[in-house]
Amino acid sequence: MISGLAQRIGRLTLFFLREVGTHVLLLARAATAGGYLLRRRHLLIEQMHKIGVRSLPLVTIVSLFTGAVASWQAAYQFRGLISFDYLGAAVSAAILIELSPVLTGLVVAGRVGASIAAELGTMRVTEQIDALETLAIDPVHYLAAPRILAGFIMMPALVIYSNLVAHAGGYLVAYSMLDVSTAAFFGSARRYFLVHNVVAGLLKAFFFGGGTALIGCSIGFRTAGGAEGVGASTIRAFVYSSAFILVMDYILATLLF
């Protein structure tokens, strides 16, 4: 009983370490693609477009409602305790530090992480990755590096955008439903604004974006077993990158605040 449990814990630990190891190894190999990506910029630009621009509609909706809910819930907790004059500050800090990076991270993990895994997984099972190898083109440079770099770059950009939209959402609810004036909302947000919060949020986004793309690539490359395998990889990429984001969020929170 006890030894069975110990065995399971041991196996899980080994599995975890091996997983992390393959991802880190892929990252190290992709990092050697710097010169290559300079020459083949369009590969990077294409991925930045896919990961960044094409995520805008989803990020817009999520951010707008996140801001709105943040306002409404903060008001619920403030009622009878704290003046609504502080609503703007509370909502703004929550958006910048936590809500925008994590929620944008999670929806992008669902959209981008899963689609990278599905795309590369399909290429693996249909021998397209082997075909690249036979053409003496390194799949890590050609496929993984642009996606991972685009993830690192575009996620902070998306989070900046998300910050703006979420503030708008929070303000709209505060103004139209909670009778908080424009001046009160943005005044308090500005009074308690800290550059540190913004930077911390963007730093989170940087790791979330790179990590999500890395996990998608790594899992895509290791896909086996036809269409069924591709489906399994897609789900796994989403689960792993979501877990990565939440754990990483906690680690960064303890380091940054």
């Binding site: 075909a131 190898e133 053409l135």
Partner: protein, 243 residues
């Protein structure tokens, strides 16, 4: 020259290659035949380093493929072209981009120059004016020919063909066979062709090798293959020419 010596490969419990040895002289074409599932594709993939054999040696010119570093493998692969059994075209790229990709990656040729060379190669395989189509819009036989053009675009010294004529009509098969012979003569390439099509095997092979139970059970000229007394070979020749 490609020298394969005592190559073993198993997947889990399944032994696929059990001591394959075969030599393909420079500038010659070797045809590999054998029943479905006997390991022909695995052997081709081993030669170009997509599969790493458990033991044995595969030498391409002076270079050893088995156990080679990744960087060396990429260097060796530059001398190769490979046509996959299922063509393995990049489905996010157009036909022209598929064929021209290696030129784009490995040379400094201009877009226009690449476009010209791609058009040339497409004409060679009997396809013109389909540059901007996506692989999904092509028939199986067309995909195969695009794969062939992609394999030949860098004018490689060694070419591996995995069933180049399967799925083509007899006229097209014949054209592809002549194309393989023609390229082989003109460029002096060393070719390995896996096929089930005995007519093409006899037509293009300088040498025929047959795999059975993980080993080469016959190796010799097409003439010797045709007249071999080995039961396995006899059956293959008869079945192949009848069907």
């Amino acid at each position: 020259m490609i020298t394969i010596h005592d190559v073993h490969k198993r997947f889990g419990e399944k032994r696929v290659l059990e001591g394959v040895s075969l030599t393909i002289p420079e500038g010659k074409t070797a045809v590999i035949v054998g029943c479905s599932g006997c390991g022909k594709t695995v052997l081709l993939r081993s030669i170009i380093g997509l599969v790493s054999p458990d033991s044995g040696s595969i030498r391409v010119g002076e270079d050893e493929v088995v156990g080679a570093e990744r960087r060396d493998l990429f260097r060796i692969r530059r001398r190769f072209g490979m046509l996959f059994q299922g063509a393995a075209l990049f489905d996010s790229l157009t036909v022209a981009e598929n064929i021209g990709l290696a030129l784009r990656e490995h040379t400094r040729l201009s877009r226009q120059e690449i476009r010209n060379r791609v058009r040339e190669k497409l004409e060679v395989v009997g396809l013109s004016g389909i540059e901007d189509r996506k692989p999904a819009e092509l028939s199986g036989g067309m995909r195969k020919r695009v794969g062939l053009a992609r394999a030949l675009i860098m004018d490689p010294r060694y070419v591996l063909f995995d069933e180049p004529t399967t799925g083509l009509d007899p006229v097209m098969s014949d054209a592809i066979n002549r194309l393989i012979i023609g390229t082989q003569r003109r460029l002096g390439i060393t070719a390995i062709v896996v096929t089930h099509d005995m007519t093409s095997a006899f037509g293009i092979g300088d040498k025929i090798a047959m795999i059975s139970d993980g080993r080469i059970v016959f190796e010799g000229t097409p003439e010797a293959f045709r007249t071999s007394a080995l039961p396995a070979v006899k059956q293959f020749v008869r079945g192949g020419l009848d069907g």
